[in-house]
């Protein structure tokens, strides 16, 4: 089998807080083949953004391993590879906060090139920037414009152009469309998919929006409180959701129909604290199928079908 571009193994990112450690990312493993998209889904605070930031090196990991093209890139290994900063880039959620208000569009897109390659000829730099702008569908006349003069969609295109500037292999997209209007969301998603087709980018796509993730991802990781609760091919997960949490998420997607099947009850209960969580299934408190033993001991990921992993004790019972 071909070597995947990104391999993440048993990654743990904890934050020290007053009462102990906040388990933001707790033992996550996955891999993304080159040119594919992995969607990471979960509610706010489940650690999906921290996962992205850890892969980017913005947040230090506690343990685990990250390999890019088979080369470990975590912690000290990272410093030895200046090239790494070129290989992994990020697209941010907030197109307003992610662009420096004092820099023009041209300057923003040129900055990564300047940082990585030092001074190149200014006309050459300009040519590169204009090419990038064309690639993401920005008109040439916006070259000298400032971010506050652009709408959300255009700003996000600037963010994408900046991420593409260094020809990265992996792009971490942290909710890149969730703060945009729906019509613009589609444009940006299509742009990202087009770019993947043309240039073979690999995406780690973080989102809370299941319809978005279905549209763009080849594989999905569903996260709950730092853990992966379900993982597999997108179609497999959408057709055979096996973890109660995934089912609840899927049921929560509004359907444009008046008849349809009756809705399952909405999730009850509160999310337990991610600070030094007790052993046992972290979802047990909100799960309508939980039994006392769910709360006693940890549940492991098990393979429900070929390439479809689920962290649930009740796995055997079809149609819970």
């Amino acid at each position: 089998m071909e070597q995947p571009l990104l391999e993440v193994q048993n990654l743990k990112t904890y934050f020290p807080v007053n009462r102990g450690f906040l388990h933001a990312v707790d033992d996550i493993s996955f891999s993304i083949p080159r040119g594919r998209t992995l969607g990471v889904v979960g509610e706010s605070g489940c650690g999906k953004s921290t996962l992205g930031r850890t892969i980017l090196g913005l947040t230090p990991a506690v343990s685990g391993e990250i390999r890019l093209d088979g080369v470990p890139v975590l912690g000290k290994e990272r410093q030895r590879q200046p090239d790494l900063q070129r290989k992994i880039q990020m697209i941010f959620q907030d197109p307003y906060g992610s662009l420096n208000p004092r820099m023009s569009v041209g300057e923003i897109i040129a900055d990564p090139i300047l940082v990585q390659q030092g001074r190149t000829g200014s006309s050459d730099l300009e040519r590169q920037v204009l090419e990038l702008m064309e690639k993401v569908g920005l008109s040439e006349r916006l070259f000298g414009a400032y971010p506050h003069e652009l709408d959300g969609g255009r700003r996000q295109r600037v963010g994408i152009a900046r991420a593409l500037a260094l020809h990265p292999d992996l792009i971490v997209c942290d909710e890149p469309v969730s703060s945009l209007d729906v019509s613009i969301q589609a444009q940006i998603l299509n742009l990202l998919m087009e770019l993947q087709e043309k240039e073979g980018f690999t995406y780690l796509f973080i989102t809370h929006d299941l319809s978005v993730v279905r549209h763009i991802s080849h594989e999905i990781v569903v996260m709950y409180l730092g853990q992966c609760v379900e993982q597999g091919e997108t179609e497999e997960i959408f057709s055979h959701p096996s973890h109660p949490y995934t089912r609840a998420l899927l049921d929560a997607i509004p359907r444009p129909t008046t008849k349809g099947p009756k809705r399952r009850p909405v999730l009850q209960g509160e999310v337990v604290s991610p600070i030094d969580p007790k052993p046992g299934c972290r979802f047990a408190g909100r799960c309508s199928f939980s039994s006392p033993e769910c709360e006693r001991e940890d549940v492991l990921l098990r393979e429900a079908a070929e390439g479809h992993w689920v962290r649930c004790r009740k796995l055997s019972g079809e149609n819970l």
């Binding site: 208000p101 004092r102 041209g106 940082v115 006309s123």
Partner: protein, 292 residues
């Protein structure tokens, strides 16, 4: 494709300038300051330096008239020439000391705000210690320790103002350092120095400029106070505070001797304060209002 396209156009600062111009008081302050700077720069053309130091016992204590617009003092020196030349000390020292303090404060405050944590605590506790001493008193202490003279006064004034700037810069840098665009610049490998100078400082400039213009007003006042009590510019030099000190014994009979240099101090302080307020409103309309 067109060549030589400008990478930036000056949109932001133009908007700031337009908002500044809408504030009539601020424009008045600017005109006043330019007038005073003009007087300082062209002092040799306005009044010969000879008239500043020339003592004439025949023409002592003449009230303002055509030959002596501001009158003469107890030594028969031309007060007009002295006040004009005095603007050189007040303005250059005021502006110079603030710029020096601003630079030092920017570096110290940036380090504290950017690194945070222990670095921040250590730097800021040190700054707090200095801040516990009132600025003017600190300047007096330093000036007394170093002795009088233009250079020493400048050092004293700068040091006493560093804490204010360090605090302003630190809080702004701290806020900006967690912005997404700074994170983005980290992901593509910007070094700390580049992050601070290119991503953070341009966005921190607004509050810094406001603080600078307000501090300059304070500095002009402090310089005159120090000179008045004899710790600033020594006596024969025509510093405004020094002139006040020399003439204070004649104040009752010859009021113009103290009101005119006092008025010069007042004008420059008002001008700088008006500009500072105007800049604050122009740079950030959200901050305008009576709240300081």
């Amino acid at each position: 494709m067109k060549r030589g396209r400008p990478f930036r156009k000056r949109g932001r600062w133009q908007a700031v300038w337009r908002r500044f111009c809408r504030n009539r008081l601020a424009v008045a302050g600017l005109v006043l300051l330019l007038f005073l700077i003009g007087a300082a720069v062209f002092a040799p053309a306005i009044a010969d330096y000879e008239r500043v130091i020339h003592q004439d016992s025949a023409n002592r204590l003449i009230a303002p008239c055509a030959a002596y617009p501001f009158g003469t003092d107890a030594y028969g020196r031309d007060l007009f020439a002295r006040v004009i030349w005095g603007s050189r000390y007040s303005l250059s020292l005021g502006i110079g000391s603030v710029l020096a303090a601003m630079l030092a404060g920017a570096v110290i405050g940036s380090a504290a705000g950017f690194y945070g944590g222990r670095t921040d605590s250590m730097i800021m506790r040190l700054i707090d210690m200095i801040m516990a001493i009132p600025g003017t008193l600190l300047a007096i202490t330093i000036a007394a320790a170093l002795g009088t003279g233009v250079g020493n006064l400048m050092i004293a004034m700068s040091i006493s103002q560093i804490p204010t700037f360090a605090r302003v810069v630190r809080s702004v840098v701290w806020t900006i350092a967690s912005e997404d665009y700074v994170e983005a610049a980290k992901t593509y490998g910007s070094k700390t120095a580049r992050l601070i100078t290119r991503q953070i400082w341009p966005n921190a400039l607004g509050p810094l400029i406001v603080q600078a213009s307000l501090s300059m007003a304070q500095a002009v006042l402090t310089i005159s106070s120090l000179s008045f009590i004899g710790l600033g510019i020594p006596a024969p030099s025509p510093e405004w505070g020094t002139i006040l000190a020399e003439n204070k014994s004649y104040m009752r009979m010859y009021g113009y001797l103290c009101t005119i240099p006092g008025f010069a101090i007042l004008l420059s302080v008002i001008a700088l304060n008006l500009i500072g307020d105007g800049l604050r409103d122009a740079l950030d309309p959200k901050l305008s209002g009576p709240v300081r």
